[in-house]
């Protein structure tokens, strides 16, 4: 398949990439992947059995410190791993939140009991988490969240509602952001994070279908009791815990870029070989021009991701750089899938369920593209972050 040239300048990274590829060839490609692909679309990307297999191999927690049971792999190696996994659509949904958000946060803020209970289970691929952040009145303005946690004896009692929780209907636990001080000023000074079993009494989960073809859930909390040991870090220090967790997640943007490369490579392969109506697509100057432009943008997206890894390797958190890569890659998914409609015409409207679809996933990629722009902090919020932290522009409002 035609693809942009490889870019591992460090031989150690290249060797690890080869090892990952080899392992995936033996443990994912073939019958296991075929069986996964036979599942309905909404079930894909979540595979407890595969997560356990990966855990057994030791490839969950690649970037975790060794004393926490991880491998302390470099960001470049983690990126290579993420790219190889995503390029073949190996499922990570089951262990992903635990590995990239909850685990690193517990390593930093968790009690010895929390570490003992969760970290080994994450590493083995045996514990799944969903995120409980957004609420009806707290989307981009997450610090306005209202779900209340009130101390009652040795327990905390939680009341409120979370929205748009991906994996909320599949996961066993939730990483839950709550308000523990309603009078705090600024408002993000009154937030605390809890580890909550989604099987707890008082929790109601109502999944609904999101446009990309998988569910996200509204989760209702009615007098849900959790023990004091479920609190992560200090009371009212949750904002710090949440934002640090985002920092640990940053190399993950490579995931989206690898996905875009795979989609782009499929489109390229189609253009290279298809002759609808006897007219070879690859002879069309307009199509060639459009495809060449997209190739350049894919390369830019890859360079942004590599820069994130370099910044992390230099010991600095890539605050605005990561936001730049997220904005660029998210919006590139929209451009790529919109372009696919022009390159393939009506055929790009057909799903994998249509026998005659030229590439049966493009319409899903288009539906999914909105998520990359609005999910995990919208592109507008990312631009605000870049303006403040990258350009040192003054805060909006005021005189």
């Amino acid at each position: 398949m035609s693809t942009l040239p490889a870019l591992d300048t460090d031989p150690a990274v290249g060797r690890f990439r080869d090892e990952v590829r080899q392992w995936l060839a033996e443990n994912w490609l073939g019958e296991r992947q075929a069986a996964h692909d036979r599942k309905p679309f909404k079930e894909r990307g979540w595979d407890a059995e595969f997560s356990r297999l990966l855990g057994k191999k030791g490839w969950i927690g690649l970037g975790w410190p060794k004393e926490a049971g991880g491998q302390a792999r470099s960001p470049s190696e983690q990126l290579a791993f993420i790219e190889e996994m995503r390029y073949v659509e190996a499922p990570t949904g089951f262990h992903n939140v635990g590995e990239t958000i909850v685990g690193p946060s517990l390593i930093k803020y968790g009690t010895p009991e929390q570490k003992a209970e969760y970290l080994p289970a994450f590493l083995r691929g045996e514990r799944s988490f969903g995120l409980g952040y957004s609420e009806p009145e707290a989307g981009s303005d997450l610090a306005s969240l209202r779900t209340r946690a009130v101390r009652d004896g040795s327990d905390w009692v939680i009341n409120g509602q979370k929205l748009w929780s991906t994996g909320g209907d599949k996961a066993e636990h939730v990483w839950l952001a709550t308000r523990t001080d309603p009078d705090a000023k600024p408002k993000h000074a009154g937030i605390s994070v809890f580890l909550v079993s989604l099987r707890s009494k008082g929790i109601t989960i109502r999944p609904s279908m999101a446009m990309y073809g998988k569910t996200f859930s509204a989760v209702f909390y009615d007098d849900v009791r959790v023990p004091a040991g479920a609190l992560v870090g200090e009371v009212n220090n949750g904002w710090r815990v949440i934002t640090d967790a985002l920092a640990a997640e940053r190399v993950m943007i490579g995931n989206l870029v690898a996905h875009l490369r795979r989609v782009f490579d499929k489109v390229t392969e189609h253009v290279k070989t298809a002759s609808p109506g006897g007219r070879r697509l690859k002879d069309d100057a307009v199509i060639r021009d459009r495809l060449g432009g997209l190739a350049a943008e894919i390369e830019v997206a890859r360079q942004f991701v590599l820069r994130n890894a370099r910044v992390v390797e230099s010991g600095r958190a890539p605050l605005y750089e990561a936001a730049m890569s997220k904005v660029f890659a998210g919006e590139l998914q929209e451009r790529l899938s919109e372009a696919a409609l022009d390159l393939l015409g009506s055929g790009a409207l057909l799903s994998e369920d249509a026998a005659t679809a030229p590439i049966g996933e493009l319409e899903q990629v288009l539906r999914h593209s909105i998520m990359g722009v609005i999910g995990g902090g919208t592109a507008e919020i990312q631009r605000n972050v870049i303006a403040l932290r990258g350009l040192n522009l003054p805060r909006p409002g005021g005189g």
């Binding site: 040239p5 390229t268 060449g292 432009g293 830019v300 590599l306 303006a387 350009l391």
Partner: protein, 352 residues
């Protein structure tokens, strides 16, 4: 292909500081506009740059590789400095192992020679013209050539036979006509009717590589100009008040400038990656170069437009610095086939 560049990150920073410091005193930005069209001033600066070793850039890639070459072009763009570095770098890269051209290069390194480069048959712009070389003479017309006014020699890329023709500026049969326009100093048209020329035969692949390096150099120079225009826009947004607040507080301005930063960084990262791949001998470097050119063209042009939007009428006066960068960015990125040629190169690579 490069022999591998040896410059470390610290050495690169030293080079950047030294070029920026030198140009800051010898080519101060407040006089850049009036002096750009003054051939005597440009020639005098060129002599001084030879003292810095910059007219020999490209002679020894183990000392200063393509990464360092692009860095110097970046600084030239930033300072709006129109010295004939493009011709010098390509001449040094192409002719350093040609004994017949030793005198030309020696004069170049001493700052008494100045080479103007014509990509000719390798230009990538079908309107750039073409030339024929036969029996020791060059015939034809080439347009859109920079640095002709100060040139002592012209270096012309020829397709069949493949190689480089070297024509002294005073060669009989050669006429040079300035073609005024967006570029300052003006581009020129060269008519060889016919003109005696030295010919250095080189494989076509190598000439094509030199043309790609010339494109990267121009894109880096445009990057430097766009970055400088952007820096001025940012500074303005932090000072200018309207409606009782700094305009940099308006999200309409903030998001515009963030988009510029994305464009600038995307261009710089891909240009650096192309240069680094060349300097480590990666045969894929031309694809990385094509990606950098395809992205940088539209992105950097947009940056300089947005810089103007942010500066408003203040930046619209020709005596302001930014119009200089506007001209430079467009003139450097539209030439040699521009982004459409680069997109076509990527499509050729992917689709055959």
């Amino acid at each position: 292909m490069a022999e591998k560049s040896g410059a470390s990150a610290e050495e690169r920073q030293l080079l950047r500081d030294s070029v920026r410091g030198f140009l800051g005193t010898r080519w101060p930005v407040e006089h850049a506009v009036e002096r750009a069209g003054d051939a005597a001033a440009v020639t005098a600066l060129w002599r001084e740059l030879s003292g810095q070793g910059l007219t020999a850039l490209g002679s020894d890639l183990t000392e200063a590789g393509l990464g360092e070459i692009l860095l110097v072009f970046d600084e030239m763009g930033r300072a709006s400095c129109p010295v004939p570095l493009l011709g010098a770098v390509i001449a040094n890269l192409a002719l350093r192992q040609q004994p017949s051209q030793a005198a030309l290069l020696d004069g170049l390194h001493r700052g008494v020679n100045s080479v103007a480069l014509a990509l000719g048959d390798y230009d990538g712009d079908s309107a750039a013209g073409c030339v024929d070389y036969a029996n020791g003479a060059l015939t034809g017309t080439i347009s859109f050539v920079e640095g002709a006014a100060t040139a002592t020699h012209f270096l012309v890329m020829v397709d069949e036979p493949s190689g480089l023709a070297v024509v002294p500026a005073d060669a009989p049969g050669l006429s040079v006509t300035a073609t005024p326009g967006l570029a300052v100093p003006a581009l020129s048209e060269l008519a060889f009717a016919p003109s005696r020329a030295d010919f250095v035969a080189l494989p076509g692949e190598m000439v094509a590589e030199l043309a790609q390096i010339a494109r990267l150099a121009c894109a880096s120079r445009a990057y430097g100009a766009a970055q400088r225009a952007f820096d001025l826009a940012i500074a303005h947004a932090k000072l200018r008040r309207q409606f009782g607040q700094l305009i940099g507080q308006f999200q309409a301005i903030q998001h515009k400038l963030v988009n510029c930063l994305i464009g600038l960084d995307g261009a710089r990262l891909t240009l650096d990656s192309a240069a680094a791949s060349y300097d480590r001998g990666d045969p894929s470097w031309r694809i990385f170069a094509a990606a950098a050119l395809a992205y940088s063209g539209p992105a950097l042009r947009q940056v300089v437009l947005e810089a103007h939007h942010t500066l408003g009428a203040i930046g619209y006066a020709e005596e302001h610095e930014v119009p200089r960068h506007f001209r430079r960015v467009h003139a450097d990125l539209a030439r040699f086939g521009g982004a459409p040629r680069a997109r076509a190169e990527l499509a050729d690579y992917l689709l055959g």
